[in-house]
Symmetry: C2
Subunit: 318 residues, 2 copies
């Protein structure tokens, strides 16, 4: 652990955690990182680099054992990573309706049975109470605790909903030689509140959050085409060009994440963002709701470029 | 109406309705067409050909007024047509989970609010109680009635689920010069029970039903690639070649629809079929459940090749 330098930065709207000049975590400013620094630094007995070649199953095992509590970017390459929302059954039908109506910010990739911690369509032997490296527990719309295990919060009426994440299409852009500036720069993607109304369902609704990536003009059409192939991961962009058209006043002032330069010959391109459902859940003020912590995703066994997000278990019986 | 000749054929497993040598309707043999022939023939004051150039909105209006009660194949070209499942709210969460886990036979394209007859994400001014030309009402797993309006069956606890249908990818195959034999021959697509287990949810489960289309060997890869672009309409095939691998004993004996010839140089290709959720609903024995009648689909305003099935209503507010 020698040489590791953690720097918490608590801004007005956002708390950042910087590790050796890399932003490794962020959260809305309902809490800050100061209080969790000690826990993070002492519990990490397996490092990100130790796991870089591990399978999804092995990464989940390291997380379940408590040996790894870090972020999941770059782990289990080629496997689908998921945003997580766990909520009481009585809100689950409306939340699924909300996600179905807003498929670009909220692409549903898995739904658990009520009170059941496994997610067999996403991976073998998943236990959603232990297999994510960091969780946030919200009570009545306020962050209550940030933990590495939710076994003692788990209840028989909880339903797990897994949603796709942008890692999937970013990997596809990179494979096709389309540059992704924030990755090049080791920054977090810039995220913005927009004026785009979500289609509501029950108590769920609000405005869409987007990410922005500057794309060279000549590659914009290709970026649309490639990301459209991943409806399970936000799909094609929702807009490009002038930020004012979607209610963004200043690209240099993202609401979350880091500003990145838009160079001459580049077009700012906007994708629906997985922070959208997190904000919507927060605003809904549910008595309890659990999400992953940003960057600490659920890693599935499903390939990120599979046609569906249902684990292929060829099973036929007569 | 002169020259129109209706021939009901009631087989052991299937009832067919033939109009001037074209199969225009079929249903499982829990009922037969004899009893509804009179109603069909007298109420049809607008013909299929009258509506061939009409918009989706106009077709729905003709259906709502009672002027048109026929099938929807070929109407509102380019618009998404949907399978329909209406069920009590207390079963809706499990049914949505079931569909999410079986996205190829059961692609969800729209979900209504509880007790609400509109489907604003699928179309303007849809009233699901009147805008489908023929419905089947099932009670306790048995066909109870076949009607052209469900206003008097509608209840405050009902939830509408719309699912994609194969018209979408068939149109795309034809546009790409891939022949579709049953369309060429004016037949219904052959459908088969398989031994492929569905992923269950609550009381919903069973075996997948597939359709078969013979595709020239040289075009099979293209047929996969084209239909994969339509996850909202069953997506890529689930198998090709030997029918025994998925538990089909004899291609010349489909469980529903018509047998079609597989010629030398052609490969039988199998797609997941929208009859799957209908069978699953029937087997679940719900106290009440309403579906469209086969071929009498809900016509949406959404383009069948749109990236998502959410009607684009660019709406931003500050």
């Amino acid at each position: 652990m020698s040489g590791t330098r953690f720097t918490p930065i608590n801004l007005k709207n956002l708390s950042l955690l910087i590790e050796n000049d890399n932003l490794i975590d962020w959260m809305p400013a309902c809490d800050d990182f100061t209080s969790i620094r000690g826990a993070r630094m002492t519990s990490r007995s397996t490092s990100h680099s130790d796991l870089i070649a591990a399978t999804a199953l092995d990464v989940r095992a390291a997380i379940r054992s408590g040996a790894y509590t870090g972020h999941t970017a770059g782990l289990a390459a080629g496997k689908l990573q998921c945003n997580l929302a766990i909520l009481p059954e009585r809100f689950a039908l409306d939340f699924l309706r909300f996600c179905q109506r807003n498929p670009k910010p909220c692409p549903i990739v898995g739904v658990g049975d009520t009170g059941e911690a496994s997610l067999p369509t996403l991976g073998r032997d998943i236990d959603i109470r232990t297999d994510v490296s960091k969780y946030r527990v919200f009570r009545n719309g306020t962050l209550s605790e940030e933990v590495t295990d939710i076994s003692d919060v788990w209840a028989d009426d909880l339903v797990t909903v897994a949603l796709g994440c942008s890692f999937t299409f970013e990997n596809a852009l990179l494979r096709n030689d389309i540059p992704v500036r924030h990755i090049e720069k080791g920054l977090n993607v810039p995220m913005y509140r927009t004026n785009i109304d979500l289609v509501p369902a029950g108590r769920f609704g609000g405005k869409m959050v987007v990410t922005m990536r500057p794309i060279p003009q000549a590659q914009v059409a290709q970026a649309y085409e490639i990301s459209r192939r991943f409806p399970q991961a936000h799909g094609a962009p929702i807009a490009k060009g002038d930020p004012a058209q979607i209610g963004i006043a200043d690209l240099s002032q993202p609401d979350w994440g880091d500003a990145v330069e838009v160079r001459s010959g580049e077009v700012p391109v906007y994708w629906a963002c997985g922070v959208t459902p997190q904000n919507v859940l927060l605003d809904a003020g549910l008595p309890i709701c659990i999400t992953h912590s940003p960057g600490h995703m659920l890693i599935a066994d499903v390939a990120e470029d599979a046609e569906t997000t249902i684990l292929k278990t060829p099973k036929t019986t007569n």
